[in-house]
């Protein structure tokens, strides 16, 4: 791993923010809107509130066990084998995220911009770029994320500003959509959309000082939440609850609405470029961290050679399910519900074990 301590708060912030906030632009809102209708925008808040204590607990544990990353922490607390098993669960979560989400992203690009292109080639192209990008290592990923961060944020804000004419605030009411109960259960079962925050913890020692890492990550978590909520809110107020359930890719549907004055009426490609840039970065981060987790579990000295098999596996897994709607709506939803429980529970269990062992006193 190339690491000379060049990473600081801002790079981690950018990495984490791009990684988390891109959730606002995929098909998750459609998934959530099936049950909660126009209260969709509240679900991430509930999810975040549910997962935040566990997340803070993890950060607290990492702080206590100095110089350890996520998987090493598992091993330190629960012993070698159970620790590795827990690590493996996180690894499988990453792999499934890679496969489901890359398929989802390729579908978005294909349906909206390249109707006639074969999906397999697009998959190879997309993951190929991601693979070569990830090869450059965590530092370069950090630099790239930070330098491209302002422009990506600027276009995101521009989308909000340009669409604001279409927003009808009244559509947010009734405020709890199909009922408070639905919102809360959905908030719980979709808590795994913030599960990716845990994946980032593998890089705990990548920064110059771990204080910078904590600061960057927490800041990004909150800003990311705000971005997700704002985007979800815009989706439901623009589409209303009936259409949002049928809009497969709400972000791109929104950009289709946007025009810039009377002359430039179809500027969705402009936003697509920056969205694509962020999407590439997101997958570079995800694939790199997946390899990192794998490398730590199996005690590999250098995990970068693992990137190639993981990339190929992603392509393979992404191409396999022929019906992307089914993948998205059935498998992914079930997976999310299971993982939510896992992400909420395991930090608490870890903390309890560490506390019982008396390792937190020092």
């Amino acid at each position: 791993m190339q690491n000379n301590g060049f990473l600081k708060t801002r790079e981690i912030f950018a990495i984490a923010l791009i990684f988390v906030s891109l959730k606002a632009t995929d098909s998750t809102p459609t998934l959530i809107a099936q049950k909660t209708q126009n209260a969709t925008w509240m679900v991430p808040i509930i999810s975040f509130l549910l997962i935040l204590p566990s997340f803070l607990l993890m950060i607290y544990l990492l702080k206590k066990y100095n110089d350890k990353n996520l998987v090493e922490l598992f091993e330190a607390v629960t012993g070698k084998w159970i620790g590795k098993l827990l690590g493996l669960v996180i690894f499988l979560f990453c792999m499934s995220a890679l496969m489901f989400e890359s398929r989802n992203y390729i579908d978005q690009i294909k349906v909206l911009y390249f109707h006639n292109s074969p999906m397999e080639i697009m998959f190879f192209l997309f993951i190929g770029v991601v693979f070569f990008g990830a090869k450059k290592g965590i530092e370069v990923i950090g630099f790239t994320a930070w330098i491209s961060f302002p422009i990506i944020q600027f276009t995101a804000i521009l989308v909000i500003v340009l669409i604001s004419g279409e927003v009808i605030i009244q559509r947010a009411f009734p405020i709890f959509g199909s009922g408070l109960e639905q919102v809360l259960t959905q908030g719980y079962s979709k808590a795994a959309i913030f599960g990716e925050l845990f994946v980032l913890l593998i890089a705990y020692n990548a920064t110059k000082e771990s204080r910078m890492f904590r600061k960057g990550l927490l800041l990004a978590a909150f800003v990311g939440l705000i971005e997700i909520v704002v985007f979800y809110f815009v989706y439901i107020t623009v589409f209303d609850y009936n259409s949002i359930q049928k809009a497969a890719f709400p972000f791109h549907d929104i950009t289709q609405f946007i025009s810039f004055g009377n002359f430039f009426t179809n500027i969705e490609t402009v936003f697509m470029i920056f969205w694509l840039f962020a999407a590439f970065l997101k997958f570079i981060i995800l694939i790199y961290f997946t390899a990192w987790i794998f490398g730590t579990i199996f005690n590999l000295k250098s995990f970068e050679p693992i990137l190639l098999p993981i990339s190929l596996l992603t392509i393979l897994g992404g191409i396999l399910p022929f019906n992307s709607g089914l993948t998205e709506l059935v498998y992914h939803e079930r997976l999310l519900a299971w993982l939510s429980l896992f992400f909420i529970a395991f930090p608490i269990v870890l903390w309890l074990i560490a506390w019982k062992k008396g390792e937190l006193k020092a």
């Binding site: 801002r10 911009y113 450059k136 790239t144 002359f263 694509l276 590439f280």
Partner: protein, 495 residues
């Protein structure tokens, strides 16, 4: 067999060079004649004389073509005939006299333009500096022109170049250190740095790399650059090549290191970042707003020259829905009778532009105007009229070609010109998806490049304390720090 013939200097030659100087003059004269092939080498001169002081025989050797004849007459021969003194050093009126006892140093000294005096009965030779290499006068900078700011440029003479730098930077800490390189023809690389600023690790790294060069000759700085760089196959340059002394001085002030050689009319600045290539010295001479305005324009040019053709290909081929209908109709109408696919058209035109540029550069001066007429008329007008190229392509390519001149630094200019072709192909292959991917990879590759350990996009990312002179610069009063990425000994500029 060639391998065996291509050996280093024979054993005998090496022994000859190591030989100490003989006490008797005739022996030494024979030796010198043999070493420098006196009988066939026409500009190698020898002058025997009798020294007035003690009536000893002496002999003077030098290359007639690289010394100042009048100076030899006035300050060596005349004093030797007329003056008295207790030693040779006190007789001749040359500013710099050195003694040597080895033929190796004698050879080096004669090659660098010194006259060597052998005296009978003495086992030493006196090296007297009378060098006068021919060089151009200091001229106006031609490749990096500025409107506001000093106009002088380096010329092919080390002393002149040094004086140009010292004129800008009056500091007793400005050190000029020489390192000799080359096996067959020894030349000297001069390392300039400000002693109380420069980072010793970087300095030593550079010295080591220069010492590690294993070559018969390193004729000039342009060749040295290629010997020093880490990634010879990379598209990204890692050293800044400039012909402006004021630019060199401003980098020296910040703790950077400047390399000079006698035979080059430029200097190399190390280490560099992306911003060094992006900036022009004029940015700092112009007032705050004017300087930053020209930076914005240059940034636009950077993106235009590398991406405009590729974007045009991508959008018209894959995303034509985003072009406003009127414009789309105009483009289609202009392409109606053109037989080629758009990407071929663009590639043809870009290639034509590169040809005009390359040929225009090499063409002898008297023929210069011809190429303009041929280039503009045939490639522009006629190609359009013959329906080979659509007029809109001419506009796009001209725009991208013109923009490339705003990035005047020769290395980065090549980088963007070559990348342009990769981007065009990427844009023709999967439109914006291909182009964004290619640009991202290019960007990440650039971010991973290091110049002597300094990441290429610092101080933007990774962040370092500095005056934040990246895309924009702050006002002169606010520039309080030297860039921390080169770890200068003193980071605070003032106060």
């Amino acid at each position: 067999m060639r391998f065996f013939q291509n050996k280093k200097p024979t054993k005998k030659e090496k022994e000859d060079q190591k030989l100490p100087i003989h006490p008797t003059l005739t022996e030494n004269i024979d030796k010198m004649k043999q070493l420098f092939s006196y009988d066939i080498n026409k500009d190698f001169s020898m002058r025997t004389l009798t020294i007035q002081q003690d009536q000893k025989k002496g002999c003077l050797f030098y290359y007639g073509s690289i010394v100042d004849g009048a100076m030899i007459n006035e300050h060596i021969i005349k004093p030797l005939f007329e003056n008295k003194g207790d030693s040779i050093k006190n007789i001749v009126t040359i500013e710099n006299v050195e003694e040597t006892t080895e033929f190796k140093t004698v050879i080096q000294n004669i090659n660098s333009g010194k006259a060597m005096l052998f005296v009978d009965g003495e086992g030493i030779a006196y090296a007297m500096d009378v060098a006068k290499f021919e060089h151009r006068n200091v001229a106006k900078s031609e490749n990096e022109s500025v409107i506001k700011g000093p106009q002088d440029a380096f010329t092919e003479s080390l002393n002149v170049n040094l004086s140009l730098i010292r004129k800008q930077l009056h500091s007793k800490h400005l050190i000029n250190e020489g390192i000799q390189i080359g096996e067959k023809s020894v030349s000297e690389v001069n390392i300039l740095y400000v002693k109380d600023l420069v980072n010793d690790d970087i300095l030593n790294n550079i010295k080591e790399r220069i010492n590690d060069i294993n070559a018969d000759t390193v004729r000039n700085l342009e060749v040295l650059e290629q010997y020093l760089e880490e990634r010879p196959y990379s598209l990204i340059p890692t050293m800044l090549y400039t012909e402006k002394p004021d630019r060199a001085a401003s980098y020296l002030e910040d703790g950077f290191i400047v390399l000079l050689m006698d035979s080059s009319s430029a200097c190399l600045i190390v280490p560099v970042t992306f911003w060094s290539f992006f900036h022009s010295p004029e940015d700092r001479y112009l007032r705050f707003l004017y300087g930053n305005a020209s930076r914005i324009i240059r940034l636009c040019c950077f993106f235009l020259t590398s991406l405009v053709s590729a974007t045009f290909v991508a959008i018209t081929n894959f995303h034509s829905e985003m072009i406003p209908p009127d414009l789309l109709l105009a483009i289609t109408a202009s392409r109606e009778r053109v037989p080629f696919p758009l990407i071929i058209e663009i590639l043809l035109m870009e290639l034509a532009f590169e040809i005009i540029r390359e040929a225009g550069l090499r063409i002898p001066n008297p023929l210069g105007p011809t190429i303009g007429i041929v280039g503009a008329l045939i490639l522009g007008q006629a190609a359009v009229e013959a329906n080979i190229i659509s007029p809109i392509i001419v506009i796009v390519v001209a725009l991208s070609g013109l923009s490339s001149f705003a990035l005047s630094e020769v290395n980065i200019n090549f980088t963007v010109r070559l990348m342009r072709f990769i981007f065009i192909i990427a844009g023709g292959f999967f439109g914006m998806l291909g182009l964004t991917g290619a640009f991202l990879l290019f960007f990440m590759y650039t971010a991973s490049v290091r110049s002597f350990g300094v990441p290429f996009f610092s101080p933007m990312s990774p962040h370092f304390i500095s005056s934040n002179d990246t895309i924009f610069r702050s006002t002169i009063q606010k520039e309080k720090y030297r860039p921390d990425y080169i770890k200068p000994k003193d980071i605070q500029k003032k106060g």
